[in-house]
């Protein structure tokens, strides 16, 4: 009796079929979305949570460069925190003595490392010692050097930004790329 009913069950058994229509719909939507956000040059930069970049109509792609990140609460060179920011003021960056700052020292080191093979045409230290504001003018800086990619929060004032870019200029990086988000 039991064997008979089992045989009957086996006969009537039909393999379960998955309803893949909804799965296909989902995949199609995902595929379209991903096709729209496809980029042949995907971003390798991760944006800090405390960094809100301004939007711009610029179309230029950024080059391989040294990243200087100025968030709402810190100043970072690549991924290393150099200084903290309190109410828009950079702690440890004295506007009257920029070359004593950690930022200047780190950038100088990068600059010197990148130009060890190139003969310097002028003593930069002398120019810097002479006058801070004139320091960036008289330097003969090789062009074939990585520029600085400056990622700055859009709410920072020029007062703070100027201290950073002036220090970078004094350290041998007068050319910048300002990072912006595509409009």
């Amino acid at each position: 009796m039991a064997l008979g009913s089992m045989r009957q069950k086996r006969k009537t058994f039909t393999p379960p079929r998955l309803m893949i229509t909804s799965l296909m719909d989902m995949f199609t939507i995902i595929l379209i979305f991903l096709l729209f956000s496809f980029s042949d040059n995907p971003e390798t930069i991760t944006l800090d949570a405390n960094l809100d970049l301004p939007r711009s109509e610029a179309k230029l792609d950024h080059e391989e460069c040294i990243r200087l990140v100025f968030t709402r609460d810190s100043l970072k060179l690549e991924d290393e925190v150099i200084a903290t920011v309190q109410e828009g003021h950079i702690v440890g960056l004295d506007p009257k003595n920029l070359k004593n700052s950690e930022l200047y020292k780190k950038l100088r080191k990068i600059y010197e490392d990148s130009t060890t093979n190139a003969a310097p045409s002028m003593n930069i230290e002398e120019a810097v010692a002479e006058d801070d504001t004139a320091a960036t003018r008289d330097l003969n800086i090789p062009d074939k050097k990585k520029p600085l990619l400056f990622l700055c929060d859009k709410q920072h004032t020029f007062k703070s930004i100027n201290q950073v870019i002036k220090t970078a200029g004094m350290a041998g990086f007068p050319n910048f790329q300002f990072a912006v988000l595509k409009k």
Partner: protein
């Protein structure tokens, strides 16, 4: 009768499209696209701090007049003036402009853009613009001004933007 229904059922099953290869393709495409997807696009604006040019640029055979536009960015508006070794004070004074934000930022930027177009049209060789923001100007405003100064919808205006602090 039961035999006929089984044949019909088999035929119906054969008529269904085999979705398995399509699903396989999706399973390959989606991880690939996920890896190359970019959810934000970072672009760059080239700029520099002031540097002293080394060589003299006055040796060109055909000497075309170029001006350097100086843009003072204040919290209440934009002031423009121009610098050139080839123009008189009166000619340079004609190139001055003041655009107040009182009537709205959009209007001020539109008038500013129009003024820059006029300067560029008169002196097409000009390509440098110096922005001197006040200390309390935020970065977003500087970028907006740079956008307007660099180009309009059709034309390139002043692609070399230099950011400088006020010396005064």
């Amino acid at each position: 009768m039961a035999c006929f229904s089984r044949v019909r059922r088999n035929r119906e099953m054969d008529d269904e499209i085999n979705m398995v290869p399509i699903m396989n393709m999706f399973m390959v495409l989606i991880p690939f696209l996920l890896m190359s997807a970019s959810f934000f696009h970072i672009k760059a604006i080239n700029t520099s701090v002031p540097v002293l040019a080394e060589g003299s640029q006055e040796d060109h055979a055909e000497k075309q007049i170029s001006v350097t536009v100086v843009v003072k960015l204040r919290i209440d508006g934009i002031n423009t003036s121009s610098l050139s070794n080839d123009l008189s004070k009166k000619e340079l004074a004609d190139l001055e402009g003041d655009f107040s934000f009182d009537a709205g930022n959009e209007k001020a930027y539109a008038a500013f853009s129009e003024h820059l177009m006029k300067v560029k049209k008169r002196y097409p060789k000009s390509d440098t613009l110096i922005i001197i923001p006040a200390e309390d100007i935020i970065y977003d405003t500087i970028i907006q001004t740079m956008d307007v100064a660099r180009k309009t919808d059709e034309d390139t205006l002043f692609p070399n933007v230099v950011l400088s602090a006020s010396l005064g």
